[in-house]
């Protein structure tokens, strides 16, 4: 007989894998990507393709030259590439896309230790980096050949917007964020596949809604609220970036606090800030708070009575 394998229990594993989770996220992003390509044309496809390819290649090259195991097979670089591409206007020069992708993978992800170690969402950090570096190009939007503002910017300057078009996504904006319905379809897939729980997005959107109703200056105006919810990167951010495993709290209490902070920050940035947008900065800022949040929200272990209480009892 051959040698028997010996290891510490448990001796069985389920069939989940990191790759399968990342593949599910890619599948969930497809509706919004496809809509973006239909909405903005083949130029959007070029942006997405360059972004994904640059992310994967930079991960490969970095790991190759650093003599680390090649991990592009886990598809996490593909997710980063897709998210980054979806967060750019389709008119962006492709070399900017490449700079953003390299920044996301090398600086934000690999230099901090690779998958699971980055304290900020790589795609969002890269987007903010590009927003600062190429402010004009990152915020100039054309739609149907006409340069114009996004619905959210129009809303901020007091003009009226078409909420139905915002929900469907036939408006100006970055490639992947305009269609609320396409994003929700993808989000539903992730929830059904149990890749994400709806906890963070639901709390995020609820707190944001309350903030807008209280401080938005429009009173109890449901149309205004709907436009704020469907506009900008809120839906994409809430379902696909705020739920990023690596950069969000792991425990339930932490997730609730994280969602509340996100809602308040997004409201603050959007209503009181200069820009109509606020989701990216809100998420990045909250990412940095995650270790602190987790530190103060260690869940009570089963059967353990917290010390204060046990003193009362005795």
């Amino acid at each position: 007989m051959n040698m028997l394998n010996v290891s510490s229990s448990p001796h069985v594993r389920d069939n989940s894998s990191t790759r399968r989770i990342m593949l599910d996220v890619c599948i969930a992003l497809l509706p919004a990507c496809i809509f973006g390509i239909v909405n903005f044309g083949m130029r959007a496809l070029a942006v997405l393709a360059v972004s994904v390819i640059t992310c994967v290649v930079s991960e490969y090259l970095f790991e190759y030259f650093m003599h680390k195991p090649i991990t592009i097979g886990d598809l996490s670089a593909v997710v980063t590439g897709l998210l980054l591409g979806m967060n750019m206007p389709h008119t962006i020069p492709l070399w900017i896309v490449m700079i953003g992708s390299v920044f996301a993978i090398i600086v934000v992800k690999q230099l901090f230790g690779g998958l699971g170690q980055n304290f900020m969402n790589p795609a969002l950090a890269a987007r903010c980096f590009l927003l600062i570096s190429f402010a004009g190009r990152m915020t100039s939007f054309t739609y149907d050949g006409v340069t114009g503002a996004t619905p959210l910017a129009l809303l901020k300057s007091g003009e009226s917007v078409n909420v139905l078009r915002m929900f469907l996504g036939t408006t100006a904006g970055v490639i992947g964020e305009t269609s609320t319905v396409a994003i929700l379809v993808g989000a539903l897939y992730l929830i059904i596949r149990k890749v994400i729980t709806p906890l963070i997005p639901v709390i995020y959107l609820a707190v944001f809604s309350v903030f807008v109703l209280l401080f938005g200056g429009h009173g109890f105006d449901m149309t205004y609220l709907a436009a704020e919810l469907c506009g900008g990167g809120l839906m994409l951010g809430a379902f696909f970036m705020a739920t990023d495993y690596v950069t969000s709290p792991v425990n339930t209490a932490g997730k609730i606090i994280y969602g509340i902070i996100l809602g308040i920050l997004t409201g603050l940035f959007r209503i009181f800030g200069n820009s109509a947008e606020g989701v990216s900065y809100a998420i990045i800022f909250s990412n940095i708070l995650v270790p602190l949040i987790e530190k103060i929200t260690v869940p009570r272990a089963f059967g353990v009575v917290r010390e204060k209480k046990s003193k009362e009892v005795s």
Binding site: M1, N2, M3, L4, N5, V6, S7, S8, S9, P10, H11, V12, R13, D14, S16, S17, T18, R20, I21, T71, D74, S76, G114, L115, G116, Q117, Y245, V246, S248, V250, N251, E294, V298, P299, R300, A301, F302, G303, V304, V305
Partner: protein
């Protein structure tokens, strides 16, 4: 009654269909029987027989040494040939009494010949103690100690653990089906010691026949009920069982008695019946032989001390080369490097698998998906505990309640990055406990 459960846990492939329908068969033990002196928690028993001495089946061959310890009896008649260290299923070597079977099965006098109805509580406890009965779910805590809690008046629930949540195992299931009345009588003995308590059979709802049999057998009993538990691993863990049945929680520093409960394994209750009603000490138990690498699957009634190879040979040997042979279930059992090990009081199964999930999967970085935290029945954050363990950071580990881990294996099972989460936490626990012992000695 509604279906009871706990928060956390997971649903591994249960494999019970392989051996569920195999009726209990008696298995003769072969020539050489090995009786490790430590088959229980506490001090090893002390041999009371000499090499060359003839012993009878049911004769005490090693006596308990201390309050938490247990007697050991020979399961066959024969001659003591050696007393030497032998390999046991958990991997180590344990000093053992080796007996050569004379195949006569000549019985020693019974340890109890009184009518159970006429016995006092102390006499019953004494018989259980004499019979060497320990918790047969694996931990091996002496049963008479369990039945002698500090505050006996506070015990209001005696739970018989029929969850059998470990995948593949069916020995308790067969016992519930085929020895239903013995179990009810065994539980009634335990209940006699605690007049204020109710008795509860806790059974997972994937065993409807066992639930039906127990319900029929207890229909006339006012103080015994059958609790139907939702199928989920580790429902049979003591803490999860108490939570599901009573809603109470205990932690690592508490005993079930602190929650008013005593929890017994199915085979333990059957052994109590046999000791008190039939005067037989604990010398046999039911062991499941199963897995996809054995030729046929069985539930054997084995003589303790039987070599594991006897069970495997009786099952027709291996169908395919096994990659892993496990004593116990796949979640908490022990993988063995050597099949020459004896069946002991805590042996529940011999599981031979043709494929090893562990060696076939490489670890990748933790992506903080949180699945381990959702699966943890102790509501811990296993990914953070494993990280603290890797950094050898005992303070953080303890602050995150790492010592509460019950080592059920759920976190490793569900991990998509295939990380050895349970294993890291386990070793850190061992290190902290060893450190604490060292400091206590100073």
């Amino acid at each position: 009654m509604s279906v009871l459960t706990f928060r956390g846990g997971t649903h591994p492939y249960d494999g019970k269909a392989l051996s569920r329908d195999a009726a209990i068969e008696e298995l003769k033990p072969g020539e050489e029987l090995v009786f490790p002196l430590s088959q229980h928690i506490g001090a090893p028993a002390v041999p009371i027989v000499e090499i060359g001495e003839r012993v009878l089946a049911g004769q005490k061959i090693a006596a308990k040494a201390g309050f938490v310890s247990a007697n050991i009896h020979s399961s066959v008649s024969g001659t003591v040939v050696k007393i030497e260290p032998r390999t046991v299923a958990t991997g180590g070597k344990v000093n053992s009494i080796i007996i050569k079977n004379d195949n006569l099965y000549e019985q020693a006098p019974p340890i109890n010949d009184k009518n159970p109805e006429d016995m006092t509580d102390d006499e019953i406890r004494a018989v259980i103690e004499e019979a060497g009965i320990v918790g047969m779910g694996g931990a091996g805590f002496p049963t008479n100690v369990k039945l002698t809690p500090k505050n006996p008046e506070k015990i209001d629930t005696i739970i018989v653990n029929g969850a059998e949540c470990e995948p593949y195992l069916t020995s308790d299931y067969r016992r519930m089906l085929e020895y239903t009345d013995e179990l009810v009588k065994g539980l009634k003995i335990a209940l006699r010691l605690f007049p204020g308590a109710r008795g509860v059979f806790g059974v997972e709802d994937n065993k409807p026949e066992a639930i039906k049999a127990l319900k029929n057998a207890t229909s006339g009993e006012d103080n015994i009920e059958v609790a139907v538990l939702k199928i989920k691993y580790p429902q049979g863990g003591e803490r999860c069982m108490i939570k599901a049945v009573t809603g109470r929680e205990i932690n690592s520093k508490m005993l079930p008695a602190d929650a008013g409960c005593i929890v017994h394994n199915i085979d333990t209750i059957a052994s109590i019946y046999q000791a008190v009603y039939e005067g037989r000490p604990l010398t046999r138990r039911i062991v499941t032989v199963t897995g996809d690498a054995v030729n046929s699957t069985h539930n054997y009634y084995v003589y303790l001390g039987t070599n594991m190879r006897v069970l495997i040979d009786a099952a027709g040997g291996f169908k395919t080369e096994p990659a892993k042979v496990i004593s116990g279930g796949p979640m908490m059992g022990f993988a063995m490097y050597d099949l020459d090990v004896p069946m002991v009081k805590g042996s529940s199964s011999v599981l031979a698998l043709s494929r090893d999930d562990v060696s076939g999967s490489a670890e990748s970085p933790c992506i903080r998906c949180g699945r381990c935290a959702s699966a943890c029945p102790e509501h811990l954050l296993p990914m953070k505990l494993a990280q603290a363990a890797r950094h050898n950071d005992a303070d953080t580990f303890k602050k995150l309640y790492g010592m509460e881990c019950v080592e059920c294996g759920c976190c490793s099972y569900v991990c998509p990055a295939k990380r050895q989460v349970t294993q890291s936490v386990k070793s850190m626990k061992r290190m902290i406990m060893a450190q604490a012992r060292k400091e206590a000695k100073k």
